[in-house]
Structure formats: structure tokens, C-alpha cells
């Protein structure tokens, strides 16, 4: 039996453990048997590429998807998607979803007693440009209560999903806002043990990209797994 090449595991403490009891839902849904080293074969080295036909007009403007404007604080969110070599990930698919300004999701299982906004769906998507950059306009989401423990409230956040180069670049995460006092109380945010890694999920207020008399901007860069040798648009040789 030859030794198979396997995928390097994440740097210690920079990713959440599957079993994290403060987050109650993780207890019955996380594996208990030892994980097996992931082989590093053609399957893992490749991944889907997404076409521009997936993106519709207004997918990057969540304030312009209905007849009227949504209520709440209008913001810009932008950033750069990089790989582990610090190189931009071009043509990455970025999918976002979020609660409205009142902290309510347009979803049938969200029964929080806060109003839906008829002018806000809370979904967007973008393909990164040639510098790996994304940009969208939205409304700042509100915090909301959830059932994890007594008086539990999620800090304001926007859900993000990324596809970079190769299936192992896949990342689903959440962007948080600076200076939110709910963050230290939130088991999901605190599931990442390393403080610096945790704080990289917090966006930065970006006055340079804010538009006077119109909207504040937040900047949030992302690093996806993968290196310069990960094949992207060209077939592997």
C-alpha cells in the first residue's frame, strides 16, 4: 500500500470544532468518530466554475429588488477574496443572505415577532472581478433572538458563501460589524478559538468608500483555502 497524499489540516484554533457544546445544535449533529485524513486527488484539486449568467441585475443591490426602498441603514459592503498565497481569487461566486433591519428573515421557519419588510428579500450574489473584489449594497441587518439559551441574541451579521478555485476553497461564514457588544456573548462567533482568527470575521468601517450623505461602507477581506498551483480556469496539465 503506497502512502496517499492527503490534504493539510487547518492551522490550529483557526476553525471551529464540529462539537462545540455552547452551541446546542452542534451536540447531536457533529461526528464523534475520528475524522479520516482527506485524500488529495484530482477530485479535491478541482471544482466547479460559475458563469455570469447566474447573476441577474440587482443581485448586488439588495435595496433595489422591489418597488420601494427597504427600511433601515443603507450600507455598502466590499472586500477582496484572496487565496493562501495572498493572490486574488477571480470569478469567485459570492452568495449572501441576511435578516432585515428589524432582525427578521424572509423564511418560513423564522417566527421572530419583528416585521417583514415588503421591500427586502435579503439575498444577493456576485462574481468577483479580476482583482478578486466584490461589492454590494444592502441594509444593515438587525440583531435577533434565538433559542440557544436564555436571552440569547445573535449579533448583527451577514451570511456569506464562497466558491473559489477548487472544491476545497469552499467556505460558508458570517460577516460581523465592528463594536457590537453582542459578539462576546455569541457562541457561534466564539466557536473560533483563536481571537485573531475570530476578529477577522469582523468587517472594518471604511470611510474612504462611504458616500457622503448617502451610505457608510464596510470592508471585509476573505482568505480561501488554495494556492497558486490550484487550477482555476485552465485545465490541469
Amino acid at each position: 500500500m503506497t502512502n496517499l497524499a492527503t490534504v493539510r489540516e487547518a492551522a490550529p484554533n483557526t476553525q471551529p470544532a464540529y462539537h462545540f457544546p455552547p452551541y446546542i445544535s452542534s451536540v447531536a449533529r457533529s461526528p464523534r468518530l475520528p475524522l479520516v485524513l482527506l485524500p488529495d486527488t484530482h477530485t479535491e484539486k478541482t471544482g466547479p466554475v460559475f458563469g455570469h449568467s447566474l447573476i441577474r441585475p440587482n443581485d448586488s443591490d439588495l435595496t433595489a429588488q422591489h418597488e420601494g426602498y427597504p427600511l433601515g441603514e443603507r450600507i455598502f459592503v466590499h472586500g477582496q477574496v484572496l487565496n493562501e498565497d495572498g493572490r486574488p481569487v477571480r470569478n469567485a461566486l459570492v452568495e449572501v443572505w441576511q435578516a432585515n433591519a428589524a432582525g427578521r428573515y424572509r423564511h418560513k421557519v423564522d417566527n421572530h415577532d419583528a416585521p417583514l419588510d415588503p421591500n427586502f428579500s435579503g439575498a444577493g450574489r456576485i462574481l468577483t472581478d479580476h482583482e478578486g473584489r466584490y461589492f454590494f449594497k444592502t441594509i444593515k441587518p438587525g440583531p435577533y433572538p434565538w433559542g440557544n439559551h436564555h436571552n440569547a441574541w445573535r449579533p448583527a451579521h451577514i451570511h456569506f458563501s464562497f466558491f473559489g478555485a477548487g472544491i476545497l476553497s469552499r467556505l460558508v461564514t458570517q460577516m460581523y460589524f465592528p463594536d457590537d457588544p453582542l459578539q462576546p456573548l455569541d457562541p457561534i462567533f466564539n466557536s473560533i478559538p483563536d481571537e485573531a482568527a475570530r476578529n477577522r470575521l469582523v468587517a472594518r468601517l471604511d470611510m474612504n468608500r462611504s458616500e457622503p450623505n448617502y451610505a457608510l461602507a464596510y470592508e471585509w477581506d476573505i482568505v480561501l483555502r488554495g494556492h497558486g498551483d490550484t487550477p482555476f480556469e485552465e485545465p490541469r496539465r
Binding site: M1, T2, L4, V7, E9, A10, T14, Q15, P16, Y18, F20, Y23, S25, S26, R29, S30, P31, R32, L33, L35, V36, L37, L38, H42, T43, T46, G47, F50, G51, L54, E84, D85, G86, V96, W97, Q98, A99, Y105, R106, H107, D110, G124, H159, S161, I167, R170, L171, V172, T173, I188, F189, S191, L201, I222, V223, L224, G228, P231, F232, P235
Partner: protein, 187 residues
């Protein structure tokens, strides 16, 4: 090219219970099958937790590349995404169904072949980081010689093999924890 700069990948967070708001579109928008790869298969199954309770808010993504050297990244100018990728979400009973291009055997090094399989990513409320598994599609004995499966203990190997239950249709369950816990990989 060599570079010393290594950035640490961003931390993962759960997809949560409301992912359909932003992620349903890829489930709804299924590209028309490519003419050159008309052979499609359907995989149905159920996602279960420790207690055998159906997980009714899980999302699965299946990936299998085309033959090596050809369409390595699945680039396809006609379709918005390639036939070797599909996303599914579980319903109230924790069940999912996907129809996807049949995977092919893939070379591993110069002399070994991997049996046809998908890489499967599992997302759900409660999963702070997605799980990675594999599912093998076989109508014959080819799995026996698969070098990855051979490294899995025999008593757990079966959790990675879909059971054929009709022409082009297979069943495969995901058990997140407990009895018959699915093999998941570290990454």
C-alpha cells in the same frame, strides 16, 4: 514561483437555518444536461442526527470532475455551472434528491484508478464548519480496488457506498453521529 507569504484561511460559521434565502437559486437553476455527457444518475437519501432524527435543514453539495485533463475545473460556457456539481437541500423528512452526471473513474498517480465517486459537502444548522465525505457509485466490484476506500476500516466502508435501487438510481444516507456514523474527512 515560490512565495513565503501564507495567509490563514478565514474561519467558517454555520450556514444556519435560513440558508435557502441566499442559496436556493442554485437548486432551482439546474442546467440542461450537456449533450456530450447524457448519462445522469439520481441519488436519494436522508440526513439523520445522533438520535436518528431527520435533519430537515441540511444542504448537500456533490462534486465530481470530468475525466482528468479534460474540463478539469468543469468550465462550461453554455451552462451557469458544470454537470458535475449539484446542490440539494433536505425537506421536512430530512430527505434529498439530486440528479447529476455519472462520475467516472479517475487516475491516481500512474498506475492506480479511483472508483467513480463524488466529494460531498454537508452543511446544516449545528455544523459550524461543513463536513466533507465521499460517496461511491458502483454497479460492480470496482470499489473493492479503490485505494481510498481500502484505507477505511471495513466496518465503516459501507457508509461511503451508495446502494443502487433501480436503473440509474441510488440511495445514500448521511448519518451525522451515532450508529453507522458516516465517514467524514479532516481538512
Amino acid at each position: 514561483m515560490t512565495t513565503e507569504l501564507k495567509l490563514i484561511p478565514s474561519g467558517s460559521q454555520t450556514v444556519g437555518p435560513y440558508f435557502r434565502i441566499g442559496l436556493q437559486h442554485l437548486i432551482d437553476c439546474v442546467p440542461v444536461p450537456e449533450e456530450e455527457s447524457p448519462e445522469l444518475i439520481t441519488i436519494r437519501g436522508q440526513v439523520l442526527d445522533r438520535d436518528g432524527t431527520p435533519v430537515n435543514d441540511a444542504m448537500l453539495e456533490f462534486w465530481a470532475p470530468a475525466t482528468e485533463g479534460k474540463e478539469a475545473m468543469g468550465k462550461d460556457d453554455q451552462a451557469p455551472y458544470p454537470a458535475g456539481f449539484r446542490r440539494a437541500a433536505t425537506d421536512a423528512n430530512g430527505t434529498f434528491s439530486i440528479t447529476i452526471r455519472r462520475p467516472v473513474s479517475i487516475a491516481l498517480g500512474d498506475e492506480t484508478m479511483q472508483a467513480p465517486h463524488f466529494l460531498v459537502l454537508v452543511f446544516a444548522r449545528g455544523l459550524l464548519r461543513h463536513l466533507i465525505s465521499r460517496v461511491y457509485i458502483t454497479d460492480g466490484p470496482s470499489n473493492v480496488s479503490d485505494p481510498i476506500l481500502r484505507q477505511i476500516s471495513p466496518e465503516r466502508r459501507g457508509t461511503l457506498i451508495a446502494q443502487q435501487d433501480g436503473p440509474g438510481t441510488f440511495r445514500w444516507n448521511v448519518r451525522l453521529q451515532g450508529q453507522d456514523e458516516t465517514v467524514f474527512f479532516a481538512w
